[in-house]
């Protein structure tokens, strides 16, 4: 694999005393689309927040472009974040701003570009996600899929080196899903960016990702290219990829016996 842009080294993180991640190691290579997969609540999104410096690890570190994220001061952290774009699960569009103003937001905050240039750039970004015609709308007037595409346009507004996607496919219809898949790949290649996708949608992710990490039980359960993982003999990977009911991952949470709960 190529040069590392982001590396996670022996990272442990937890809320309160319970550890969510134990000694995790991951590498994200420049120019590649990598995916982090795993069941709900296994801490996939937390990894993105650790990369963005919104959370601090209990031990270990995240290095972005040679800098340890949690050791940076406010200004340095902001300069790292300026190289990142993040697509939140529900878009996180600013509800008091129009679609146009949402996409223009990072440009207005971080550049002194004249209004005419901002207009051209905003329309260009919106055109890339197919929503140039909706630039006057407010976020409340958009469907879930459209909101996510606007959020994607906003995430790539400043042509970031790193684009992070938090559950980009959740709750989308098949057409929007295909469009988003296509966009993630094409934006990554067109911008020469490095993309990290957090998801549990197997079919879509395996169709375009370069490298995949599986998280389970607080650690990396498996990793590799989609091709390698499809032929993996690991029970967890097999169960996850083929959506099998039986396997090492239990459906039920830990509980006392059903009989005792029903007082039989």
């Amino acid at each position: 694999m190529g040069e590392n842009l982001i590396s996670i080294n022996n990272l442990s993180f937890g809320y309160d005393k319970e550890l969510l991640h134990k000694n995790i190691n991951m590498q994200f290579n420049r120019g590649k689309v990598s995916a982090i997969m795993g069941g709900s609540g296994c801490g996939k999104t937390t990894i993105l927040r650790l990369i963005g410096g919104q959370l601090k690890p209990n031990s270990g570190n995240v290095i972005v472009d040679g800098k340890v994220v949690h050791e940076q001061g406010r200004e340095e952290l902001h300069s790292i974040r300026r190289k990142m774009g993040m697509l939140f699960q529900h878009g996180a569009l600013f509800t008091d701003l129009s679609v146009y103003e949402n996409v223009a937001f990072p440009m207005r905050e971080h550049t002194d570009l004249p209004e005419s240039v901002i207009k051209d750039l905003v329309l260009l970004k919106l055109n890339a996600v197919g929503l140039r015609g909706a630039h006057k709308k407010m976020p409340a007037e958009l469907s879930g899929g459209m909101a996510r595409r606007v959020a994607l346009a906003r995430a790539i507004a400043l042509d970031p080196d790193i684009i992070m996607y938090d559950e980009p496919f959740a709750g989308l219809d098949p057409i929007s899903m295909a469009v988003i898949c296509d966009l993630i790949r094409s934006l990554n290649d067109a911008l020469g960016a490095t993309s990290i996708i957090v998801t549990h949608d197997v079919a879509e992710t395996f169709s375009f990702a370069d490298y995949i990490y599986f998280l389970a039980d607080g650690g990396v359960a498996a990793e590799g290219s989609p091709k390698q993982l499809l032929t993996s003999k690991l029970p967890f990977v097999k169960q996850f990829i083929h959506s099998e009911k039986d396997g090492p991952v239990p459906f039920h949470t830990e509980a006392p016996s059903y009989r005792s709960d029903l007082s039989l």
């Binding site: 927040r49 919104q54 952290l77 974040r81 990142m84 996180a92 509800t95 937001f105 990072p106």
Partner: protein, 262 residues
């Protein structure tokens, strides 16, 4: 028995610690707001937009309430003063009651109910829908972009609203005392002019409204920022804003009055 006492002490300690933590976090938020204010002053249009929401849109409730409060003061004051044959002093009574106490206090209570709840709910929902996180990830500080403009809008709006309240309240008193009951017009205004002191009454009243504006706005902002990101969390935070702001305003009013007018 011993267990009950221990439980009580534990709860007392926890609540004391919680209050202390809240005060400390509130103070931290205030200092951060001051630090980030220079960023937000560079684009003062954000603050102006917030002044419109917190100040201009509160005008209707302030004006209507003030007029009724003034009318009630006029009525109650007239009947009491008449017993002592000094009904001409009604102008002073209405003006002093409004400028010293009711103007700043009632405005602050109405401000907490209208603007304070709106600030808490808006910031709480921005947190729930990850808008604040998104802003952080875009290397934009939510304190500079969201908190500071609202803080300064509250600080600027509140004294102006309190002044409007006092002015409209006096007009309400004038309407009842002079126009309806028939107290002498000249006596109403001249007594007021002679007995309301600019420094001791008007400036002290203005200081109160600044303190209340600071308190109500900071509480509303803090509650919005610490609201748990759920529907229930935001609704509780909104309620807390009204309860804590109202109690703080009434408590602070007592303290300020005892320093200023006694």
């Amino acid at each position: 028995m011993m267990n009950n006492i221990l439980n009580f002490l534990e709860k007392l300690g926890a609540s004391f610690r919680g209050t202390l933590f809240g005060l400390g976090s509130g103070a931290r938020l205030f200092f951060l707001t001051i630090i980030y204010s220079s960023d937000s002053f560079k684009r003062f249009n954000l603050t102006i937009k917030e002044i419109y929401f917190t100040g201009v849109l509160s005008l209707v409730i302030i004006v209507v309430s003030a007029f009724f409060v003034g009318m009630v003061l006029g009525l109650q004051g007239y009947y009491t003063l008449e017993k002592y044959g000094s009904s001409e002093a009604i102008g002073v009574l209405v003006a002093l009651a409004l400028v010293r106490e009711l103007g700043p206090v009632v405005t602050a209570l109405l401000f907490a109910g209208r603007a304070g709840t709106a600030i808490t709910a808006e910031i709480g929902l921005m947190k729930t829908t990850e808008q604040l996180s998104a802003m952080e990830m875009m290397a934009v500080s939510p304190i500079a972009r969201i908190v500071a403009p609202r803080f300064w809008a509250g600080m600027i709006s509140m004294p102006i609203l309190a002044t409007v309240f006092s002015m409209v309240g006096i007009l309400g008193g004038y309407f009842i005392a002079v126009l309806v009951i028939g107290v002498d017009d000249g006596a109403f205004w001249s007594q007021m002019q002679a007995n309301v002191d600019f420094h001791n009454d008007i400036v002290d009243g203005a200081i109160k409204s600044v303190v209340f504006g600071f308190t109500c706005t900071l509480i509303a902002l803090y509650q919005g920022l610490v609201a748990p990101p759920t529907a229930e969390g935001v609704s509780r935070a909104t309620t807390k804003t009204v309860v804590i702001s109202s109690l703080s305003v009434l408590g602070l009013d007592f303290v300020l009055t005892s320093f200023m007018f006694v």
